[in-house]
Amino acid sequence: MIGGRGDPTAGVPPPPSWSNRHPCHDHDPGHAPSGESRRRQPRGASVIRLVPRLGIRHVFLAPLLIVLGGIVAYPLLYSLWLSFTNFNIIKQDQTRLVGLDQYLGLAANETYVAGLVNTLVFVGLAVAIELVLGLALALALQRVLPGRGRNALRSFLLTPMFVTPIAVGLMFRFLLNQQLGLIPAILEPLGVRIDFFGTQLALFSIIAIDVWQWTPFMLLLLLAGLESLPPQPFEAAKVDGAGTWFTFRNVTLPLLRPVIAVAALIRGLDAFKVFEYVFAITRGGPGSATETLQYQVYRTGFSFFRLGEAAAMAFVLVVIVLLLIVPLYRRVGDR
């Protein structure tokens, strides 16, 4: 780390040849020139003079901040501004500020509200199921399989993660197809006939597809967490005669909680972006059964060209994400 809290270099003028100086020497009082030499600095060296004043850490941060400003802050603020306009890609000459109209319009938009509810159900259920399954698989892998076997099986179990979600969507569109699909063909002789993309089950089928693809991610994180836990508490529990379930509840889970929180946080953020499965399989239907916010943002902004309204839709989602995620993130941070 360069510099630090209360960096003493603030306000201290640079040495005559700062470029030859090791950054770690920032704190070296022996290199601090006198006030006399500072007065003798030529005007052209004003930028160089600024460096220590800001602290060298800030100078090194600058490229990153500039890039982040360009690719995060600018699009963000531009989108925010768009959400207060009626901006339409193909009617740009009619653009005007409409205040909160776009946001107020969303409250009366039944499809949007349905999409909001569906998205929250999707995120809540998918992440919860992935967490439970991922933890169960991680515990099984840790206990049952040693070294090499575990690594081989772990690599195998991770493969769904490497398939692009749009391909996963297309794959399941046909795998679950009643007439043409493999899964109904297997179930049919057993007397089981399921309408996977009917009104009742479509959202849950989409959740199941997400679980298939992303449980390995939970497994990866939780297994790494389990492997990094200290052995002493488990040994102590064993010596005290604690049973498997008691140890899991009172030792494993509390120790693993930070990892679980991080895993849920990352998956939760990712799950809010659900789009590909809906796009490839149901297009939001039947009715509004699988409408999700990201699909609506896409449809409104790119199919219907109303970027102002789409930006408002996205910002409502941003606020929801912030309200849900910030407390969780803070909690993880505190630990």
Partner: protein, 441 residues
């Protein structure tokens, strides 16, 4: 933890919202649409063979793209100094790229595919070059050779903005052998369709593969039912005319058929699932794009052993839903003359004949009535029926916000089939929402 919290949040926010930003390079929203660059030839003339240029073309990555790509060598014999590069991509990608290209000072594309719902919005937004003068100045081009419904879509406020390239007119594709065995004739009315589909719904084979997927697809199919029931989508003043007894009857018939003769659990099906069901002997017929017929009858194609058993008829009632693709030149292109040289060459009678023989969807009447095309292509029956379909067809929506107005109707129809809305509620919702979208609300 404040700093990392908000750093992470900023990334989240950017991921969620950047999809809605046209990015740093985009012009101000108040910027007027791009106008033709100075020096571009507004006064068109027949493209001379000495014309030079470097044009970039965007197309959907479909078999037809390969057909066009294969014709480039011949084009360069006629126009050696025009270099053509074709960018093939998926449909949604294509639309996004086209719109992006409209908005940039240096356009990416000089020749684009315009789907019929986009035509009015793109043309009225000033993004497309009017082609009237170029068409008139191109000797022997015969623009009237295209069926009137195709020409109507390309005409916005009295000017032509696109040349038809590909038709998506719908027809009934049925199994000849099954019809013959059951002593049936292709249905000419809605009730006939119900009777035929019910009779053929036997022996593990469903009577009719449907495409009730939410949005565009269901409306594209149901629109034919609406016409057959005597209804219309818009009236002569372009007002929405969906709230009618005919529309209710058409929707009730559609739902009844879905429940009784369509493959089980096919509520999310689009045309590709229907094609596979018909091609694999799991459904007796379907209402789909007319050019699916040669696709199914092609040996080694999706029809498998059934290739040759499929036939095409106009939809019951005779009037079909029409979709079409057009070649257009973006108004911000700097290569308009070279682009027109390629468009006029590719869509000329002579070259269009070659394209259709190679498997492209027909659009010119003279090509569809050409015995040479019948012999080398897919037979007289197919081309004559296709011509009949195109002559009596209409698009789902014509006018502003067409894409959205089609989708809002399709959403309501699908909700009715799914049982979330009654027929009456769905028709009222479809009519109200479509009118609101057309009015720009």
């Amino acid at each position: 933890m404040r700093t990392p919290t908000f750093g992470a949040m900023a990334v989240v926010v950017a991921l969620v919202t950047t999809a809605c930003s046209s990015g740093a390079g985009s012009p101000s929203p108040t910027q007027a649409p791009v106008t033709p660059a100075p020096g571009q030839s507004a006064d068109a003339s027949a493209p001379p063979a000495t014309i030079s240029g470097d044009i970039k073309v965007i197309m959907e990555q479909v078999p037809d793209t390969d057909v066009v790509a294969a014709m480039l060598a011949d084009f360069n014999k006629a126009y050696p100094d025009v270099k053509v590069t074709i960018d093939g991509m998926t449909y949604d990608q294509m639309r996004d790229r086209i719109v992006s290209s409209f908005l940039t000072p240096q356009p990416t594309y000089d020749m684009i595919i315009v789907d019929n719902p986009w035509m009015y919005d793109f043309a009225s937004g000033g993004f497309l070059e009017p082609l009237d003068e170029r068409i008139a100045a191109t000797e022997g081009y015969a623009y009237d050779d295209y069926a009137a419904p195709l020409r109507d879509i390309a005409t916005v406020d009295g000017k032509i903005y696109g040349v038809p390239f590909y038709n998506y007119g719908l027809g009934l594709i049925y199994r000849k052998d099954l019809y013959q065995a059951a002593g049936l004739l292709p249905p000419t009315a809605l009730d006939d369709l119900v009777a035929v589909a019910t009779k053929l719904n036997t022996g593990g084979r469903t009577g009719l593969a449907m495409q009730p997927q939410k949005g565009y697809k269901i409306f594209e199919e149901w629109g034919n039912y609406l016409f057959a029931a005597g209804g219309s989508i818009q009236d002569a003043d372009n007002k929405v005319a969906l709230d009618s007894p005919e529309a209710r009857r058409a929707l009730q018939t559609y739902i009844d058929l879905y429940k009784s003769v369509a493959p089980a659990n096919s509520l999310n099906w689009a045309f590709d699932e229907a094609l596979r069901a018909v091609g694999s002997d799991q459904a007796a017929q379907m209402i789909s794009y007319n050019w699916m017929l040669p696709t199914l009858n092609k040996p080694g194609g999706p029809g498998g052993d059934l290739a040759g058993q499929f036939a095409l008829a106009p939809v019951p009632g005779g009037k079909a839903i029409l979709g079409a693709w057009y070649w257009s030149i973006p108004s911000n292109s700097t290569q308009k003359d070279a682009a027109w040289a390629f468009i006029s060459w590719l869509t000329s009678k002579e070259q269009d004949t070659q394209r259709v023989i190679a498997g492209g969807a027909p659009v010119r009447e003279s090509v569809m009535t050409d015995p040479n095309v019948w012999a080398k292509g897919f037979g007289q029956d197919y081309y004559e029926t296709a011509a009949k379909i195109l002559a009596n067809s209409a698009p789902l929506a014509d006018g502003p916000n067409a894409e959205e107005s089609i989708n809002v109707v399709g959403d309501a129809l699908n909700a009715a089939v799914a049982g979330q809305l009654s027929v009456d509620e769905a028709i009222k919702q479809a009519a109200t929402n479509m009118q609101a979208v057309l009015d720009g609300q």
